[in-house]
Symmetry: C3
Subunit: 266 residues, 3 copies
């Protein structure tokens, strides 16, 4: 019986002691806690980045996992802390929308975490990761009933991805994430690509011969600019064994548009 | 009975294989060892940074933890390696003072680690993390009696934080740590702030209206420069949802001074 | 019985969600899996860096470890995925040579991983870490017989380190790795240094008085340029408590040459 694993996702970085502090607080309450680092390199206070990260990663975890998320620019304001219990996933996160893009999470049971007996005795105004998130997670990993954390609520902040715009011969969207390889991940789902794209517009650049629509990187040569369906079933723009973000000077928010000649089955 | 967890704090970074090597050595001796990464991003050979990191993080861990610290510019000299057994915390660290700011550690039982039967058979001159720290930690996690490691000693290198200077209307200290958010953490404890500060001097800048003394970030707007009591009960200077270190061009060592009009209870 | 630990070595970095995804897939199949991060900071698609990293780190791990390596510029081509079972070490890695410098691994039993029943049901063209490496590793950690993964093969891509050239009074090689401290690790093994070096040539610089041949950093002063035998038994060039790579503008591939006056026992 391995028990409830606790994953940690923060923007604390690795030079600051804050992640270590949280691990200490958790282990002091549950010395047998199983800690899994997801990342501590969310850009500081970047809720959009965290939301994309969680949307991508959380679906693969088993239900017996508690995902603790401390990307929390609102610490010290009256923003709530939420316990989210979906059918397949459980999170502890600030009420800033960072968790709301996780697929299927919209039907979750959401609670305000208000029961101070599970907090550290002194709660600071600047480090709720230490004073609230860590101890509550530790008690949950020991079997605490989430119903004791606080009242069920029906309102919270929701993030929304910008919606792509589609017509018969094109689809337009934007880059929503740049990964470490410089691959550009977009908000355009595979099913909106109605034919084999012959033109790619990205930012101010318009490409016809300068890119190839492929099924895998292996169809092109190193250095080639390609567009393809990502492992996440969305349009991705990449340079094979290179860095598309640098080559195209693209970043999260850069507009992208694909055009094709006529509708055809994919 | 989860056993003694081993935390690792180093300046080895993540591109070099040295952390992995240490994990391998530990697991080869104790395959069931529970490893907890605190950080491997201490700036190279920065004992002061390590000392602040440890001072902040170690107090939160339970006693059944062994903290292994390899920030060791003196490797290859005759500096000693110490086993430190405080009332609440145990460390294995080079004798360079990095552990001596941990609260309450001054009453520890300190040993020179000299018993070569717990080292790797060949001890290099450049990588004691692999050859001494890792195997000794692994044997300790298996229950080795620390008394067998070597003799108790009464002298070691101690770090001291610079002392703040206080009078009736002001307190002066310095920045001792810049966290990932650019927040400036200082050596001025909360209890030395004798009134509500109306003036902040930091480096060469003097601010009156340009900053606010607050209890939490939430009292100010994004972009505001604030001073407050940190989660560690010291004066902190921050830009709400911004980066004070960049804005003020401040770093560890930058002088800071707070003034207030008259003494008043906090 | 702690079971088979799974180590992870990737070039995914920490801002992208790919490592977290892999951990989720593994834990969903084996909730009790023991995960050990080696690094996720291999430079993107840098097989040489990965090969040096693995060569240095893997030997220290116990046999009951499975090393999963996803540095995979060939994803989406027809490159194979290999299960490698040496006498002392087991790896799961793409067939790009990254594992072939591990000492003693040349006598391994190598299989093509082809049995799709251990993959995720849908295998993408761009993320085999999620779809093949992670589930196969999880099943292996639960006790899956590697013989069920696919056929034994006798051919694979092998990396070779450039061979140093030696004569009676000198040895020439190159830098093969720069560590976080800026230390220059070379391909020149200790036993090829036939006398006490009196001259060091590195890149275009020739040094006689500007460096010292030492046995440990402690023989020199901070800031001194030294050459010595590394913890890995090869020639290393370092600046004591400084950064040799910056000082000498050296990187992987920079030529290095040591000369001595006459042969003498080391």
């Amino acid at each position: 019986m391995p028990g409830l694993a606790i994953t940690l996702t923060t923007d604390f970085g690795d030079t600051s002691p804050y992640v270590a502090v949280m691990k200490g607080v958790i282990l002091a309450i549950n010395p047998g806690a199983r800690l899994v680092d997801l990342t501590h390199q969310i850009p500081p206070q970047d809720i959009q980045h965290a939301a994309f990260f969680l949307r991508t990663a959380i679906p693969y975890f088993p239900p017996e996992t508690l995902h603790v998320v401390v990307v929390d620019p609102g610490v010290g304001t009256d923003r709530a802390i939420l316990h989210v219990e979906g059918q397949r996933h459980r999170l502890l996160a600030p009420d800033n929308g960072c968790w709301t893009l996780v697929p299927g999470i919209d039907k979750a049971c959401v609670r305000h975490v208000t029961s101070r007996q599970f907090f550290r005795p002194q709660v600071s105004n600047t480090f709720h990761g230490r004073d609230i998130f860590a101890p509550v997670a530790a008690y949950l990993s020991r079997g605490l009933d989430p119903a004791l954390l606080g009242p069920v609520v029906s309102q919270w902040i929701e993030l929304q991805l910008p919606a792509p715009r589609v017509d018969k011969r094109s689809v337009a969207g934007e880059v929503i994430f740049v990964d470490r390889f410089g691959n550009l991940l977009t908000n355009i789902p595979a099913e909106l690509v109605g034919g084999e794209p012959t033109s790619l517009k990205i930012g101010r650049r318009s490409l016809r011969r300068g890119f190839r629509w492929v099924k895998s990187y292996g169809e092109a040569k190193p250095g080639d600019l390609v567009a393809l369906i990502s492992s996440d079933s969305h349009v991705e723009v990449a340079v094979v064994q290179g860095n598309a973000a640098q080559k195209l000077r693209a970043a999260a928010g850069t507009p992208i548009r694909l055009e094709w000649k006529r509708a055809e089955p994919r």
